[in-house]
Amino acid sequence: MAAVTTESLDDILDLEKHKLSVIPQKQATPVEQWLKYVSVPVGFLIFGLLYFMPTPAGLTAAGQAVLASFALALVLWISEAIPTHVTSLVLMVFLVFLNGWDMSSVLGSLGYDVIWLNVMAFVLSSLLVKTQLAKRIALNLIVRFGHRGMPMLLAFVILQLSLAPLIPATAARTVITLPIMLIVAAIYGSTSEKPNSFGKNLLLQNLIGINVASSGFLTGSTANIIAIAFIYNLGGTKVYYSDWMFANLPLVIVLLLVTWYLGPKLILRLKPECATPHIAGGIDALKRQLDKMGHITALEKKGALIFGAVVLLWVTDRFHRSLFGFEIDPVMAALVGGIIALLPRIGILKWNEADIPWHLMLFSAGAYAGGLALNDTGAAQWVISQIFTRLNFSHDISFWQVYVIVIALMLYSHLVFTSKTMRTIILIPFIISLARELGFSPVALALPAAFTIDWVIGLPISAKPNVILFTTGQYSVLENIRYGVIVATIGLGLLIIAGFTWFRVLGITP
């Protein structure tokens, strides 16, 4: 074990020396090297096939161009043949040059609320780092749970599950916990320059925890609410908050626990040398470090106050209208926090101290432009309708066959869609009409499918937390896919089992 000396402990715990805005240079494995090498011709081949095929019925020429460009970008994102943010820029250029989407829409993606949320999230995250609040919380967590890797990972699972009902915005939860994750990872010897299996598991488990925990609650995301509206308006069944929670929360807990256990054992094996803190003197040294920090400082209190105010706004969103007469969006809450943090004399941060990874913003902007162009041109809907048409369900098909196919389609479709809302808008009505056509209860298919809306865990572009966590440089796109797809498949298995058992008890499935 390469334990570090206590002299460098301060360096490890000082996140200001591990800036997210600096892209780390990493050595790719031989497999990754090969992937990089073949991905450009393979990507071009896929692009060429999609772009040059005769425009199929039901698809616009713009939709075809977007589909081909997005497929190319997807290959390049996965292989990282060129940096992910450069791929995003390539995608944006292709969208415009191939007449897929207009320039103002493409460039406008950099002004989306998600980008603003990301920028402010990193300002607030920098606040936690500068005040040493993140360090104190992380040290406390480690001293209590961090003797071994597995309990430490479990502590984060519990943390994310606890935060989910309080703070619906997944990006907000990511921001709160990100600096803590980074310090814990660093203590276990995992940095962006030299990530190890603990850091990978920690970040990816949190990615899954943040996203999947949202599906335990009806208010976990706007897309959940849209799905319920469809089920009510098109399917005729009212689903209440408690119905959703009783049905899906147990599944979420089981899935997160299974992931916690299997992730470090099977998916990305936690090596024994990475399973303990990489600090000479071990936990005792960290205890000493915590003691050395002394009582909470005035700066920490000030930081906690600013951050706490933002969190309070996030937590109380459902009461905003009665309190203020309007609802404060999570982005605006973060913006207010960012302003206070950056105010001279009143605030804590100087602009230069805010660690904002702008390459992430470009990456996000490209991904959102591609995703929204897919929706806007009708290409995403066309792909889904083609899949349903090709499946050609006959009327003598059993409910369970349709159930498995529909859930799988809903679950894995997040690899193509970058917006949960769009995925819901396109897929849930399809599923309800399919159920009606085949004579099944719409809720029996649509509700379990809706439970997977937030399971957007397969790619860094699949959701806001994924994008933010990816900037840490602790894992590659391929590792994200591996972890995400395996966990999604476990989730599919759980949903199938639940369909036969738990959902039957609740009267959801026949």
């Binding site: 071009f44 060429g48 039901g58 616009t60 020429a61």
Partner: protein, 238 residues
Amino acid sequence: MRVKLLILGLLLAAAPAASAAGRLLRVTETHSLAADGSAQVNVQFNASAAAGDTLILPYAFTTWPDTIIHSGQIGSATERLSHGRRQLMLTLAESVTVQDTLRYAFALQQATPLGGPARLDFGNYDLSYRMVHTSAAPLERFTVEIILPEHFVINTILSSTPARPANAGTSPYQLGMIAGRHRVTLTDSTVLQGEVVALAFQAKSGRKSPLFIAVLVLIAGAYLILFRDLVFPGRSKA
């Protein structure tokens, strides 16, 4: 400024209240466009009217067709100008019920800009359709199908009335193909007096330059050579 060219528009109305009025129920228009800018328009509709009743259908083309071919129930089809608006006046030869389908068709030269040079980027042509329902009686169902010339594709649907709802999986317009030609069909139901059914879209030739394929092959080939050191460490970059 986007050049908006009205290609086809039929303002539908039942006979004026003063006349012995027939009532239109369902109308389907099919516009088959040709690459030279001409169009063949086929309209079929169901109406409830007595023999001798007149159905007035405003007509928004800038030129009149040479001939209007119509089904036997329609005695005559003549053009007229009313308040500066072109209209088609159909006089029925016999009584019709809602079960009867009436048809008329005409051909027009220079009905669309497709015959001329493309003035927009990427070779796009702006095409639009607009119908205003002026009759007091609601139209049960209105459908317009626009079929593009061979080798033409729809690039973008710019707008539609009724609009595609933001939070719904359904769309008032459908894209498809018929006999190897791309088409778009817009449908609206229960069209009330004064309501508009409209569609604006861009279309262009579906042919793509083979030069682009060559460029892609060249880039892919160059990448394989320049980046071969990724997998063959001994071979340095070119």
